[in-house]
């Protein structure tokens, strides 16, 4: 279910006195089953871009085509069940009396049978690591992290082929963050879902994704495999971003020990590399 974005332009309040260009000249192709990270600083157009993926925003110019469905068409029901978007602070959208009803909301809109709905509610709760004991609780009684996961489950339950998450871990503690990322990677692997993750934490993006799209001033600044994006921290710094801290450390170490492979993106990979080098020295 490839995503194809052709020459996308988007202008807020087009034609009005307050019009503002939000996106310009965007051309992207995303294949099935990719795990993509989108980074960029505030106002770079990340959120505007992802809202085009299920037709919430329509291009001012250009086309967004998802599995041969153009988002400009009128009936978006099919599109919306194929592309699930988890917005920032998704727990703010909870509204039902019970967790079960809230997760069912999207499924009822999809017109599924009650049996199917019940099945999916349970499995989606599992896939975000919540126990089915909370099914009949009010979502407002849950803790912050649980609320967040319930809201994500509400989107996951719809079984989208493409899952888009806008800063899914904002405001969570490191443990909650790692857990959520764990579940997201698992969804990606188990169902071969295309996952698009928006974040401004370089560490998270580096750890999880295969390909990184860097946004700057409303257009794509860089679109490369993760390892290549971070190989050049200077370019990222130029637009107010940075590489993961570990990349900087490895670069420094390389100036002292030239045989080190500095192209590692996570702390784990770095420690492996260092141990390998140390072992070499000992032998």
């Amino acid at each position: 279910m490839p995503i194809k974005i052709e020459n996308l332009y988007y202008t807020y309040m087009n034609g009005g006195p307050f019009k503002k260009d939000a996106l310009h000249d965007i051309n992207l192709e995303i294949a099935d089953g990719e795990f993509i990270g989108i980074i960029g600083h505030t106002g770079s157009g990340k959120s505007t871009l992802i809202q085009h993926l299920n037709g919430i925003l329509k291009p001012t110019k250009g086309n967004v085509i998802i599995n041969n469905i153009n988002t400009m068409q009128k009936n978006l029901k099919e599109l919306r069940s194929q592309v699930g978007i988890v917005f920032q602070y998704p727990e703010h959208q909870l509204f039902e009396e019970t967790v079960k009803k809230d997760i069912s909301f999207g499924l009822i809109n999809q017109g599924l049978s009650q049996e199917e709905i019940d099945k999916r509610v349970i499995s989606s709760l599992e896939s975000v690591g919540l126990s089915d004991r909370i099914l009949d609780k009010s979502p407002f009684e849950l803790s912050g992290g649980q609320k967040r996961r319930t809201a994500i489950a509400g989107v996951v339950a719809m079984m989208p082929r493409i899952l888009v998450l806008d800063e899914p871990t904002a405001g969570l503690d490191p443990k909650g963050r790692d857990e959520i990322f764990g579940y997201i990677s698992k969804l990606h692997e188990d169902f071969n879902m295309t996952v698009i993750l928006v974040s401004h934490s370089m560490e998270d993006i580096a750890k999880l994704t295969d390909r990184v799209i860097v946004m700057n001033e409303g257009t794509v600044f860089m679109d490369k495999p993760s390892s290549e994006v971070y190989a050049d921290p200077k370019a990222l710094e130029g637009i107010g971003l940075s590489a993961p801290q570990i990349t900087y450390l490895m670069k420094r170490l390389k100036t002292i020990f030239p045989e080190i492979n500095e192209k590692v993106l996570t702390v784990e990979a770095a420690s492996e590399e260092l141990i390998k080098q140390l072992n070499k020295r000992v032998h």
């Binding site: 807020y12 309040m13 009005g16 006195p17 307050f18 503002k20 809202q51 299920n54 919430i56 925003l57 029901k77 919306r80 069940s81 699930g84 978007i85 917005f87 998704p90 703010h92 959208q93 909870l94 509204f95 909301f105 999207g106 809109n109 999809q110 407002f140 509400g154 989107v155 719809m158």
Partner: protein, 305 residues
């Protein structure tokens, strides 16, 4: 969310008025758009348009009082000649205020329907000499006369009232109201509290609109449909938007109250202002022109009778 709110409340720059933010955020999503038929975006009354005209610079109290007097005055005129001069006066005021004429006219759009509707009712129900008769339909000249006058009055009224908010920031408007209502404190009216509530309400309009926009987007991503179905179905479809909205409004209220208390807010007692309201030459000029104009029209109207 607390930080930006506080920063905005603290900074002395005028808080972004509803209109500007709405327009920047632009697309209040389709759901609401079709639901409200563009109503929200057309309502320009209550918005502030930055500028540096005489009207912008004058004291909010002057503008409040003059607007109030003007409203009474509009109902005292009952000749077409009077309306014509008033319309010209209004036009001149709009032009000198530097507010785009298009913007002012756009603000009239939402009330056109009400005015036309009322005018038709008037024309057909007031008894007098009939223009024509068609079964039970009997439009009369008297009715038409009343209808046209009322329509003109309403339009002028809206323009005048909008001019007040176009040229005054919500904050200085509530400051002005607080000052004007001050004498009521003697009879134990909580003037400061009322104006604080107004300030907070105005400040949260854009925030809540933004929030509404977000929730609508989130729910429609989950397949919520705000456009189809009958009236009841559509009203029901807004529950998933309204409940989160209320919850977040209460949460924000709580947070704001805590933040205010943490800064030792305790009502009007002993509270001083950074910006004092002062009458200046501008106010004298505006008041003099307006009052002279009104007096002249009233005199001419009585003479011509």
């Amino acid at each position: 969310m607390n930080k930006p709110v506080l920063e905005e409340i603290n900074s002395k720059k005028p808080i972004r008025a509803t209109g500007v933010l709405l327009s920047e955020k632009g697309e209040l999503t389709k759901g609401i758009r079709s639901f409200e038929k563009n109503m929200i975006r057309d309502i320009t009354i209550g918005q502030y348009v930055p500028g540096s005209s005489l009207l912008h610079k004058s004291d909010p109290r002057t503008k409040l009082i003059l607007t109030f007097v003007m409203m009474i005055f509009i109902f005292m005129i009952d000749t077409y000649w009077g309306y014509l001069t008033l319309a010209i006066f209004t036009a001149i005021t709009v032009i000198t205020s530097g507010i785009p004429v298009k913007f002012v006219l756009k603000g009239l759009k939402p009330i056109v329907f009400i005015v036309v509707f009322a005018a038709v009712i008037n024309t057909f129900t007031i008894s007098g000499t009939p223009i024509f008769e068609l079964g039970f339909l009997k439009p009369t000249y008297e009715g038409l006369n009343v209808a046209v006058k009322m329509a003109i009055r309403l339009f002028l009224l809206i323009i005048m009232a909008s001019l007040l908010t176009y040229t005054t920031t919500p904050i200085s408007l509530t400051d002005g109201i607080e000052k004007l209502l001050n004498p009521l404190k003697r009879i134990k009216v909580p003037v400061h509290e009322i104006s604080m509530m107004m300030t907070i309400a105005l400040r949260f309009i854009p925030t809540l609109l933004e929030e509404t926009d977000k929730i609508i987007k989130a729910q429609s991503s989950r397949g919520a449909d705000f456009e189809n179905g009958n009236l009841i179905a559509r009203a029901k479809s807004f529950i998933p938007v309204l409940i989160p909205l209320f919850i977040s409004a209460f949460r924000r209220a709580d947070e704001l109250a805590t933040a205010m208390e943490a800064r030792c807010y305790r009502g009007s007692e002993g509270r001083t202002r950074m910006k004092q309201l002062n009458f200046t030459k501008n106010d004298v000029i505006i008041a003099a022109i307006t009052i002279a104009f009104m007096a002249w029209v009233l005199v001419m109207q009585n003479v011509s009778k």
